[in-house]
Amino acid sequence: MDGIWTERRRRLAEELLRRTDPVTVTRLASRLKVSPRTIRYDLDALQPWFQEQGLQLSKRPRRGVQVMGPEERVQSALRQLASRGGNPYRHPLRPEERVRLILAYLLQDAQNTRVRVQDLADRLGVSRGTLLSDLKTVEEKLAAYRIRLLRIPGYGLKLDADEFRWRQAAASLVFSELDPEHPDRSFRLAEAPKLSAPETVPSMASLLPRELMATIEAVLSGFDWEPPLSDRAFRGLAIHIALALLRLQEGRGVWLPPEQLAEVKAKGEFRMARRLFRALEKRLGIDVPESEVGYLALHLLGAKRGPASIPMERSPREDMDPPLAEVVDRMIRIVSESFRLPLYLDKELAEGLIIHLKPVLARLKYGLPVENPILDDIRTHYPQIYAATQKAVFWLERVVGCPIPPGEVGYLAMHFGAALTRVKQKTLSSRRILLVCASGLGTAKLLESTLRSELPGVEWIGTTSVMQVAKTIKSRAVDLVISTVDLDSLVKDVPVVRIPPLPGRREIMQLKEGLYLADSLTPDVHLVGELMELIQRYADVRDADCLADALRRWLDGRIFFQKQRTGRVVNVPMLDKLLIPDNICLQAECHTWREVVEAGAEPLLRQGMIEARYVDQIQENLIKHGPYMVIAPGIALLHARPEDGVREVCMSLLTLNPGVPFGHSQNDPVDVAITFGTTDNESHVYALSQLMELLSHPPSLQRLRKATQPEEVIEIIRPFVRKGGEKE
């Protein structure tokens, strides 16, 4: 049935369906500009289709032909016809189609002749009002090329554009008429099928002669592009060259300011452009002036290069200005932070962005516009990625010193989007993860639910204790162990990633990094081997075994990230930040160890740093495990676990006069009680080790015991803060 359809028959069927009265064959023939006989043949061919639609084609002599049948059948037949695609003449044009046609018309005619609004409206078959509102959109589009649309009363419309801007606008219009994402259109213009556009307003693309395009494309294909041109870039170049040649024939050459021409002439792209035109000059017997070569070189500078996934001989970073690599790095960090995913581990992203940014910067510098036909799609479908990219772009804008148009942001967002997918996939796909938590059940549950939400898509085997971990791994297939404690000796074959029981943003990020790296680096035997080979090629190694061992350890450190000392210091409070005057109580009088615990916790409780249950837990621990918290003669270190109700890292100092017995066989009575709370295994380590230094320094301890004013204690603490901070 499909074989019957031609564009003419489609129009004929539609004409008949839309009419409510009979029409003669002669009239139909004149409307469709064919003979009555052709119409009769067409009607015969269409008859079975009408029947299939539940309609009847009645033919009566002299009165004419008419489609008979229920209205809903007619409507459904019309819908079917519409789905076959149509002639813009018959179907109302969509607004964006109208805008495109108006642009084509204005660019072709409004430079030398006047264009009247009414003429335009008639040609497009719309009202004057519709056309005027379309013109607003057209004006905006033209403004992107810095072209003004002049409305001169009593004259009509005129374009205010020099040749440079005209070429930019015309090329991008041709480009948009040939949507490269459209599968049924070849990206080579010479092979593109004819476009259906109203005959009265020819499209821009139809102005470019096929033979000329074929010649240009042959020359372009013959060149060795390194890196390769993308399809879009190939087409863009062909269009620019064709427009240049056509405009030259009309005596409309492009003009570049001398200083800009001189600058461009120094670039490799200028030599490339000259070679291209030389090849064409020979074939076409024309003469191309230098300014045209410069113009094409500008276009080459701004042209997109091919897909970055093709491995390149040379790392693009090498011949890059260092700032660009830095800019890219910074942008990647910003987006990584937004998504809490380690995008900076994805090499392809940095390389892709550097290749991408070079022409972007050229476009910005020379004011070349960028076309992004899928910008709206990107914004709609990936709003988060677009927003994060925009954040990164704010920074780029500061570096380049000019605003970056949304089209460019959209392209950058695509790079980030692709990297996000890669990193997510590599990090999370098909991992079976076992969680080992040495803390109480509450912490384990909280940690597990945190991790579940942070790492969607992984398979959780469950949470187990240190005692059970080896057994669990044996009985279940485990790809990775996440642990709150060091499992070094227990788990041999499965990578282990450490995490504090209550991980912060930084730890989560590190965990994701670890997951990402664990994938590629776990079987690092090969990696160490490769590194060794490389090193031995350029250096004499004194002790190969030792070096291999050191390399392995270093890699392990990268994979199973351990304490990142430099990074951590920022978050970890020093002793003087914790022991502030408010938390110091001196020469207090307590009768029982219970009172000591309560008095020591009081300032922390009052400030909301710990909960009441934390105090109960300390007392309970002392009853259960004995006075183990009395760590030295007269000194008690009172604490429970983070999950027992600690809101932030905190510490208090209480000195007692007289001392209070805690039931310790040798260290009683206690006259210095330090109460602390910590949110994880590590946040308190600096403060505690500084405190240790102080307490093991007899003169300082002596002064501390005698102190009556908090300020004295602050003085005593000060030297140990500096000392300890440097050391760890």
Binding site: A438, S465, V466, M467, V469, V485, D486, L487, D488, S489, L490, N621, H625, G626, Y628, M629, I631, A632, P633, I635, L637, H639, A640, R641, P642, S665, Q666, N667, F676, T678, N681, H684, V685, L688, S689, L691, M692, E693, L695, S696
Partner: protein, 91 residues
């Protein structure tokens, strides 16, 4: 290089103090040793990998029988006690 495991019931306070103390003494005496700390619950699973366990008297009983010597310390912040009791195991 010897490996020392310091154990206390929570693995947060006293073991950390004692660990710093031992590390400090080792540094001063030029002894190369790795010192780790942990809580009583994690200790049994880790103990095998260490050459020495240091803890308080109250916990010593639970850490014996793993084939690793256990040393008890009364004053966790005293360098003297560490020198007397711990160092001889590290030489």
């Amino acid at each position: 290089m010897k490996k020392v495991l310091v154990v206390c019931s929570n693995g947060l306070g006293s073991s950390l103090m004692l660990k710093s103390n031992i590390q400090k003494v080792c540094r001063e005496k030029g002894i190369d040793a790795t010192v780790e700390h942990c809580d009583l619950g994690s200790a049994p699973s880790m103990i095998q990998d260490f050459d020495l366990v240091v803890t308080s008297e109250g916990l010593a009983g639970e850490l014996q029988g793993f084939g690793v010597p256990v040393v008890t310390v009364v004053n966790f912040i005293s360098p003297t006690e560490v020198e007397e009791k711990v160092l001889k195991h590290l030489q």
